[in-house]
């Protein structure tokens, strides 16, 4: 069967020594930043973007993907052992994981979360394999107007599902689109917003913006906060009891299913999946009073869900070229740096890259179980490194990385500038993720929009005459109307408040 042949091809690529090595590096770095509080996967991938420029495309993407799901694993370790979530998607794991650890079941909680994540990762990878081909074939039927509407839907949905004010997030998307237009206009050759700076005529480089907005701004806000540390709990036996296993397995399966669905949705991803599955477990549990006091389900479900979502969120990016969250936008950026235009063509033109990356995800998940369980002691030691050592080191790697993109200090200055802008954004409660999505999609969206209008001789009704485009636009409009409904808005606000609290 074709599917099998593809998987074999993927395994061949992924199992080459070089790619195995980069998968390992990615998983190690991912676990590392997952363990270290205060620096998440988005910032790390943003800061490592320039380095991937020096690697072959497949290795680069395999490494970045490894960081993404490695962070999901690593974050749970600190949640359970020190009650400090290493990153956002493991915040819920703190609630019951730390309580389990205090009862002396730290080892069991760790292995449940690692094995649950591995199961979820395996299922997630299978889902990608099954859905990649049909979705890609569907996407190849899309015309320019359909693509334009699809991007509109992707952007709006990402905004609706993200936290915070919807109007602000939409405005951020538009700001991102506007920044994406800087450079030479493809159709006419006119210079737009380049201020006579030659470096800008190719457009603002994606990497310095991402590094500034996410990396630098995050470091600054970490430095503003006073650091708090608490002692780690010792790990004894790693094996869960039979009773714990009996409760964990169904929870992990439910978490995986929910996470896999939420991961595909634009704006979804690991954090949303973890929160939703925790809420679900609490609702259907026969003993809801145990939640918050060390319920096994409260560890198994969110940990599986965040990993399943981390995997399936690759689907829209790989098949349609539409990123569903900030990490995927960065992956798109990494592809563009490598000269690959993300979209349905990737699978047909670069099958080695496409299937190699998918196969490496499963291998990476396997590696993570091995990295995580026996080496937990080492990771916990890392927590004792004070942030005042880390911050200058991270900045330094950022600066050298930005320089190495094109051997120009102009890129380093851009990082500083966008760092300030990112700080202002975070102070004003404007989120960076919608901005990044707009920035990545901006040039393509303008291109498709102009092409669609040219084909229809300037008649905007082309967007509602083609059935695919019409359907996508109706879905977009429905989402926006749903958001305006007062009852729904209230429910959404409450949901996000729960997240923050």
């Amino acid at each position: 069967m074709d599917l099998l042949g593809n998987l074999v091809l993927g395994m061949k690529v992924a199992l080459s020594l070089q790619n195995l090595l980069y998968a390992l590096v990615g998983c190690m770095v991912g676990t590392l930043i997952g363990v270290l509080p205060g620096i998440g996967p988005v910032a790390t991938i943003a800061m490592l973007l320039p380095i991937t420029f020096h690697l072959p495309p497949t290795a680069a993407l395999i490494m970045l993907a490894g960081i993404y799901y490695g962070a999901a694993y690593g974050g749970s370790t600190t949640s359970i052992l020190v009650n400090l979530p290493g990153e956002a998607s493991s915040v819920v794991t703190c609630i019951d994981g730390y309580q389990m650890a205090r009862k002396g079941r730290a080892g069991a909680a760790l292995s449940i979360s690692a094995l649950g994540s591995f199961f979820a990762g395996t299922v997630g990878t299978m889902i990608i394999v099954l859905f990649a081909e049909p979705l890609t074939q569907m996407a190849q039927k899309f015309g320019p107007s359909d693509y334009c509407s699809l991007m509109a839907l992707g952007l709006v949905a990402a905004v609706v599902l993200a936290s915070g004010s919807v109007v602000k997030a939409i405005a951020m998307v538009f700001l991102g689109l506007l920044f994406g237009l800087v450079g030479t206009d493809v159709n006419t050759g006119a210079q737009r917003f380049t201020f006579d700076i030659p470096e800008l005529s190719d457009g603002i480089d994606f990497a310095p913006i991402a590094m500034g907005l996410f990396g630098i701004a995050e470091i600054v806000s970490n430095l503003e906060r006073k650091s708090l540390r608490s002692g780690a709990i010792k790990v004894t036996s790693l094996w869960p009891t039979r009773e714990e296993t009996r409760r964990a397995v169904p929870a992990a399966v439910r978490g995986t299913a929910l996470g896999a669905i939420l991961g595909v949705l634009p704006g979804g991803g690991p954090t949303l999946a973890a929160f939703s599955s925790y809420t679900l477990e609490k609702k259907i549990s026969k003993t809801p009073q145990e939640f918050g006091k060390g319920a096994v389900e409260g560890v198994a479900a969110p940990e599986s869900a965040n990993n399943a979502a981390a995997q399936t969120s690759f689907i829209p990016m790989l098949t349609l070229g539409i990123p569903s969250n900030a990490v995927m936008a960065l992956m798109v950026g990494a592809m563009i740096i490598q000269g690959i235009q993300p979209g349905p063509e990737v699978m047909t033109k670069r099958p080695d890259l496409f299937w190699g990356m998918i196969a490496s995800m499963w291998i990476g998940n396997l590696m993570l179980v091995i990295i995580n369980l026996p080496m937990i002691g080492m990771w916990v030691k890392l927590l004792t490194v004070p942030y005042r050592f880390l911050a200058p080191a991270i900045l330094l790697f950022c600066a050298i990385g930005a320089y190495s993109l094109q051997n120009s200090t102009f890129h380093v200055e851009q990082v500083a500038l966008f760092g300030v802008l990112g700080y202002v954004f975070s102070r004003l409660g404007c989120e960076g993720a919608p901005f990044l999505l707009g920035l990545v999609l901006g040039p393509q969206m303008e291109e498709y929009f102009r092409r669609a209008m040219l084909l229809s001789r300037g008649d905007p009704s082309v967007f509602i005459q083609r059935p695919i485009s019409l359907g996508l636009l109706i879905a977009t409009a429905l989402l926006l109307i749903l958001m305006a409904l007062p009852s729904l808005r209230k429910a959404r606000e409450e949901a996000f408040q729960e997240e923050e609290g």
């Binding site: 005042r388 200058p392 202002v424």
Partner: protein, 245 residues
């Protein structure tokens, strides 16, 4: 007054400002027709939509401003904010329209004034001394050796000079930004090592604790690491000290 400082109102203003800037800087871009769009069509469209959204955000913030969170904690610190803004603007204008020496003189004078009206509290003589020294040494280097290095020297010394009040919120942002800019100025002219030292030193000042021995150790470790990763590992074409290695 507080409503005008809320996150929502200020972000609305920010979007309108970005929209206006896009319209102003894109004013020479041809609009074209909807069939053959010129380079200005989409930017104008985006700018107008963004300004409308910004207006909605700002106006609704004024009506629901009761529970608004303040974006910046400036209560009671208005004079400081205004004084520093005026000083910075004056220095930048001096630099842009007069000369680099005028800018440096402006920096030194503003340090003196700000210290004496207690906006930059702390040891006044040391602050002013360091700032003046930074300006003089930086100016000489700027003229005799290299412009980039001169600017970097004055930046480093002025960053060291500022005695931040303990509760200062701007310090991390300031130090991180100055650190990266100094790095960018030094990297090509002097090589990796001097720029690394400057960046790590300044960035370490941004934390809540600064111990010279620790920072020195950090510099040594990072130097070795950077040489191994970038020079040996990724074999990038960068020199550790320019002209030497």
């Amino acid at each position: 007054m507080n409503r005008f400082l809320s996150k929502d109102f200020l972000s609305g203003v920010m979007f309108i400002a970005f929209g206006l800037a896009a319209l102003w800087f894109g004013r020479h871009l041809a609009m074209g027709t909807s069939v053959r769009m010129g380079p200005g069509y989409v930017p104008h469209m985006l700018a107008y939509i963004m300004m409308v959204l910004g207006l909605i955000i700002a106006v609704s913030a004024l009506y629901t401003g009761g529970a608004a969170e303040a974006a910046f904690e400036v209560a009671g610190n208005w004079t400081a904010l205004i004084a520093i803004t005026v000083a910075t603007a004056a220095c930048v204008l001096l630099g842009a329209y007069v000369s680099y020496y005028a800018l440096l003189a402006g920096v030194a004078v503003s340090f003196a004034i700000l210290s004496f009206i207690n906006i930059l509290p702390g040891a006044k003589l040391r602050t002013i001394g360091l700032a003046v020294a930074g300006c003089v040494v930086g100016g000489v280097v700027y003229n005799l050796v290299n412009q980039d290095v001169g600017m970097a020297v004055s930046l480093v010394l002025c960053a060291l000079a500022i005695q931040w009040p303990p509760e200062s919120k701007v310090k991390p942002l300031f130090m991180v930004t100055v650190g990266i800019v100094t790095f960018a100025l030094l990297f090509e002219t002097t090589g990796m090592l001097p720029s690394l030292i400057a960046l790590v030193l300044i960035a370490s000042l941004g934390g809540d604790e600064f111990r010279l021995k620790e920072v020195a150790g950090n510099i040594v470790v990072l130097t070795i690491l950077c040489i191994l990763v970038f020079k040996v590992g990724l074999s990038m074409n960068i020199s550790v000290i320019n002209g030497v290695w």
